[in-house]
Symmetry: C2
Subunit: 337 residues, 2 copies
């Protein structure tokens, strides 16, 4: 086994500022669609949806749709509705995820299921999901509908697989990659891919941006799964150690378990089974991850997918959009530090 060296921190802290600036005008259009279409005469719907939608999310996925369109010099506004649809699908899955996981905090705020209860979260999620499809139907592109209905089915499939892998110490890296490829990367890929469809930029551009989004999504989730063991609650906006207590078989656990001595493997088996869930157990777990380089190597895996994402942009001309999309990858990975 070779020793793994932590990659150096980049000279300048990468951020999403370039991307935020690039898409600012379009994002106003997207936000207008989001605000208008989350309304309902049933007051609980905008109240609950607004808690999450207005609640400090980065709008990462719609931003990717807009930045991808900018990369292709698209000058229309069709992508505003589609970016809003992407955000609605994402919000619906967050609402359902929090019910599934019994989460209590997200982005540093109490989750909707804690405030309004699981039933309301399930049903408002369904509403937003339906609204997303209404927006796509209004746009009228069957190709976009195909991309996003397929992504939605894949996401749900990934979530179910994650559920069945939970607390199963025998889940391995391949299964983990399948799960995050479905539950996270599929929507990143779709968010990027709809841009070349509306810009009519051709099949090659679609495949390139799908690849960019998919690899970025995997990198993003890998780093998220590191953060759950390596950050404090304030930084990450959700409870540190949630994955540990939920028995989620994320890559840091898989690597630490696979590389551990017999006693350590027994600890992981007990922890994932839910028998070791105290703060002391979590601290011990993090110690084992550091000793086995599990966290550093998960970040290294994320860098691999990040490089693939950036390489997927090779066919596109240099410029502000390409620079912003490139820095978004660096930002996704730098969150781990």
């Amino acid at each position: 086994m070779t020793a793994t060296v932590l990659p150096l921190r980049p000279a300048r802290e990468p951020s999403l500022t370039a991307m935020v600036d690039l898409v600012a005008a379009d994002m106003n259009g997207v936000n207008a669609v989001i605000l208008e279409r989350m309304q309902s005469k049933v007051a609980l719907i905008p109240e609950l949806a607004g808690h999450l939608i207005a609640g400090g999310g980065k709008r990462m996925r719609p931003m990717l749709t807009l930045a991808s369109a900018a990369l292709l010099d698209y000058t229309g506004t069709r992508h505003h509705k589609l970016a809003a649809a992407v955000e609605f699908i994402h919000t619906a899955t967050l609402l359902h995820d929090d019910v599934v996981d019994g989460s209590g905090t997200r982005r540093g705020k109490r989750t909707a299921n804690i405030i309004w209860g699981n039933p309301a979260s399930v049903l408002v999620g369904d509403f937003l999901f339906s609204r997303a499809f209404e927006l796509m139907v209004e746009d009228g592109s069957l190709k976009v509908l195909k991309i996003l209905s397929n992504a939605s089915a894949v996401i749900a499939e990934g979530e179910v697989e994650q559920l069945t892998a939970q607390r199963r110490i025998d889940a391995g890296e391949e299964q983990y990659l399948t799960i995050i490829g479905a539950k996270t990367a599929a929507l990143f890929a779709a968010a990027c891919r709809v841009a070349p469809v509306v810009a009519e930029a051709g099949e090659d551009a679609e495949l390139a941006l799908d690849s960019y989004g998919r690899n970025l999504g995997i990198a993003f989730q890998l780093v998220d799964d590191v953060i759950d063991y390596a950050s404090d609650e304030q930084t990450m906006g959700k409870g540190v150690g949630d994955d540990f207590r939920d028995g989620k078989m994320t890559l840091p656990v898989i690597l630490a378990h696979a590389r551990g001595a017999p006693a350590d493997r027994a600890f992981w088996a007990a922890a994932m089974a839910g028998e070791r869930a105290t703060d002391a157990d979590l601290a011990h777990a993090i110690g084992l991850m550091r000793a086995t380089n599990a966290l550093a190597d998960t970040i290294e895996r994320a860098r691999h997918y990040g490089r693939r994402a950036i390489d997927a942009l090779a066919p596109f001309p240099a410029g502000k959009a390409k620079a912003a999309l490139t820095e978004a990858v660096e930002f996704a990975i730098a969150r781990a530090y």
Copy 2:
């Protein structure tokens, strides 16, 4: 106030046999699509979905799509996928409803949420919902997509409104009709309306079949809400008195409360608030409903919508399909006896 007379029981017991026979060949096609498209490499998905889909449902909604197509002499097979999509949407809402209501039995069997847990039911519902849209996208009609994405949003809106009306004794008949028009009738209407779209039968046929389905759906739900107070567990396949214990403001409750003496109104307020939930309380509630004609008049309301459904079929020529659709209305109402 005028006395209400219970309508006579029809000479022959109405049944769905004529409709089942009419669509038998097409239903084989629909079932093939359903079986094929509920598959997934994630084994829990077909396992859980199959429990409900293969579990003795009447396939009422896809049957309506097929019978409506037969009424229009449609000879293609496009409607097989669409009828399957309608059934997937329905199944997804049932899975989520059972989570929302914390139900334990449906159609005389244990519910999926009891067997596999709420998280799996939420996520498999999401999967089926996405699959429904994939099937519609494959068919390729934006008009069908618009009808069913709108119906889906309306259903979710109705479910949320039902949730907010729960345990609120001040909910009235108008709100109740809005809720059942959304949560039940919208999908009945959409199931019928997609047939004239694929048959290219024109706007008038669309509006007529939408009206047939919508009114049938309202009649169907009214009768369902009577059955919850007037049947034994075996007949109805779900727990009698579930609505009572859940504090659902259905029409029998609304009428009995509105017509009750002050002491009775106090009983209803306490019961809907969850403070009177024993079997003796339920028996007392049924007694009050009978004394105020609340059950009989709810059935009379159902007959009103049933007549409107049958009248909506007037433009179509007599024949097996029209007879089957007419008898389906009579069947929906006769279930109350």
